[in-house]
Amino acid sequence: MSAFTRVRAALSRLVGLTRRSEDERAMREEMRFHVDQLTERHVRAGLSHAEARRRARIEFGGMAGHEEAARDALRSRLVENVVRDVRYGWRSLRRHPGFAATAVLTIALGIAATVTVFTIVDSIFLRPLPVPHAERLVAISFRRPNGRAERVGSLGATLLRAHASAFDAVVAHDSREVLLVSARGSATERFGAFVSPDYFEVLGVRPVLGRFFLPSEDSVPDRDAVAVLGYDLWRTQFGADPRAVGEHMQVRGRDVIVVGVAPPGFIGISIGGAPNDLWLPTMMLGVMGRTCLGRPACRDADVLARLAPGASIALARHQVQTLTAELGALAFDHDTTAPVVVAPLRGMATDQRSDYAGLAPLLAGIALLLIVIACANVGGLLVTRGLSRAPEVALRYSLGADSGRVIRQLMTENLLIGVAGGVLGVLVSIGGVRALMGFFAHDSEGFPHFFYLSLDGRVLLFAFAASLATVALFGVLPAVTTSRVALAQHAAQSRIAGQGRGRLALMGAQVALSLTLLVGATLMARSFLSLMHRQRFDAAHVALIRLRPEQVHFDPARAQRFLRAVVARLEGMPDVTGVAFGRGVGFLWDEGPTTMPLGRTSDDTALLAYTRFVSPGFMATLRIPLLEGREFSDDDNERTPLVTIVSEGTARTLWPDESALDRTVVLGGKAFRVVGVAADFAVHPITSPAPPMVLVPFWQNAFQPEVDARLAVRVRGDPAAALAGFRRAINAIDPAVPVTELLPLSDQVKANFTAVHLGAVVLLVAAGVALSLTGLGLYGVISYIVERRTREIGVRIAIGATPFTIVVLMLRQGLAATLVGGTAGLAIAALSARLLAAYLVGIEPGDRFAFIAAALGVTAVALVACGFPARRAARIDPMTALRVD
């Protein structure tokens, strides 16, 4: 940490210099005084002045030698002084535990907020991969005019390898594939990657067993069925058996041979995606159904490259630029003008950033507000503390302490607070980072995301610099004003009154900022609640399960027999109150698996309807309101007439004035009888009005026989706790069928609104912290004023003021600060609420309820905070008060 050493050196030089020059001056003066006295004595004894001085010098001894010895003595004292200051500061803080705790906690909160946010922004956007030469790795992709990234593909990688000398390695990889792996009799679903052979070398990993891919193994499509196991897969699926190398296993039904095992902890490079646990050559992408391998326009892989030693990214960009046309010809079937972007490989893959991009400035803004509030609060605390210490400091001055010494002493005490606050803040932020990253842990289908998360040295250094700067800034202020107090003590009284006003101004600013945060928090919370409630289905107590018999090549008849058995088994389980199932990628979330033309007759099919294939009991299980008619039953099957349930919106569009029941609709060319009308339930994105939607019975197989299915199981208790039991029950029926994506429905709903949810939680926490700080601050400043004016209040009571007038007198200033700050806060909130617009669903940024609720909340806190000291003032006993000196 060269930066740290430099800072430390500069600091010690600063401290050393100022101290030494001061001590030096004092030392010289002292010695000069001595020699003068000696001279005087000789003069009195009758010597001439010049002779007297000469004798004095001789008797005093070699000045330079004494000075050197004195300097040595002083230097060794420096260390002891610091130790003494620290001990003194510690004792002084222990005498005022309330002050110390408040100051430390306030700083800790500010630091925790900063470190948490910086760590998350760093992990998501800035951090390089934890591999050797990470700084030389770049990602290469096309950038469409709409900002979307487009893959360069393996063919492009080959071209770059041959023609771009700025790179000494070019890797093609497809790191985001879900692979069903069957080995040694059991199946598991893992995230895998298809990679070119140099992938492992570039990332600096070595196999713990066997080998990685040979160049020849990635040259012909679908020829070399070889695989490298992730360490975790090897451990769990092969029991860490060394004989796994050379063994056969199935990946999505394709037979492959294990050639090696990756080292523990290596989980690929898809930051913000799922950890990889299995690798195959890119030429095996046929496993994923890719048939275009080796031909242009396939865009089968992302490309990353390593800059050759000495090559700059500018050179790389220039070389890639000249190859744009060829790369475009390999990646697209038609001429394209999409430019190629060469970017340092940092943080999350660029194509996933957009989901989170808006969050970074939001979080940073909130952290910044919290820091400002924390600083203002600590500043107020330190100023008050500095003033209440004025007598002590004045005493020390009058005893002859020099101002440098006093300031140093006060600073030491403040530094103690700063360091304690910093340490505590970092500890809190470790929890904060964990809590916030919990929001990013899974995607909406329950697949894990991973980030390399750890506090790094730069963030810690920043945190400590910030906490020390805060106390230094506000610590010097009281030290300096107190020095002045000591010199002109009679002026102190008016200054104290002035500083009370200064603190009130600080409080006003805090009120403004807390109100801003509280308005934001209320808006976000209302937005999140409206998202959760506008779903029109009840996500609580529902578990989702996905059955994938298609991956093990079941035919529809066998798959449906299996599904019926599973449903029967689950329905028989003790805590299950309902089982629904259906088909579709997101089941409840995606725009629907199928869009089909819809109309009243076969000639009139103007609408495109999202079509869902659902089981009997679907609406009952998910508690979707049925407005008219009935749900599907087991009697709606392939032998009975086609039926459908239409959504409320669809019904209103097709039959604006009459009931839709028993009407006929034409869907995808077939006629269905409407048996029910369902409430519009959510489809993603919820921000737009509900599109037309129809439900058709899963068992009628009107369009194509179903194989895979998703289940929604309503349970009595916690759905997350029931998942393992469901998996066991299904495996007991047929262990070969992959059972995946088990998660509570509410988790899936939340994962779809991570940004809003996270924003709401962060804002609520931030607003809570800000309000508490403001309350504490107001309480402190009013208490201080009451204490200062005890005598005056005593006099007022003695001459007949009622408790009520005293309370009003004391409340007036605090409430005035709240009023002014609150008005400013409402204005700031009105301006800044627009920044939240992207996250607000179902309410306006100017939502009156949010503003009124927040204003009332802040006023209540201010009343309580000022009320306690005001009540204390009203109870002052005039006799006691007048005795206060």
Binding site: E30, F33, L38, A69, L74, E80
Partner: protein, 114 residues
């Protein structure tokens, strides 16, 4: 040296004790300490005067004395040194140690006398 009385350097290691002893009466500045020491020792000890200051700084660093700037009766600024509680304790200890050592030395000298 022209003076009639032979002067010895302050005994090695006793300077600190003598300084503390001097300050046990009242706070005084460096020059005052020198004067007082010479006066008490009837000018036997010729303090190497400059060496007093490193000793004072050391004692202050150890917390046995503390210092403050004051004005002398002749209206000059001077640094006055005063004994701290710790200094008082230290002086008592040193005195005891010194007493034991010098008693022992005296005893030995008495025995060896012819």
């Amino acid at each position: 040296m022209a003076d009639a009385v032979q002067k010895d350097d302050v005994l090695q290691g006793t300077l600190d004790m003598l300084v503390l002893k001097t300050l046990s009466l009242e706070p005084m500045h460096g020059w005052g300490i020198t004067e007082r020491l010479q006066q008490w020792s009837r000018d036997v000890f010729q303090l190497n005067q400059g060496s007093l200051y490193p000793a004072l700084y050391r004692l202050e660093g150890q917390g046995f004395v503390r210092s403050e700037w004051k004005t002398t009766e002749h209206n000059r600024r001077a640094r006055y040194y005063a004994l701290t509680a710790a200094g008082r304790k230290r002086l008592a200890e040193e005195q005891r140690t010194w007493q034991r050592a010098s008693d022992a030395v005296n005893l030995i000298l008495a025995v060896v006398a012819p």
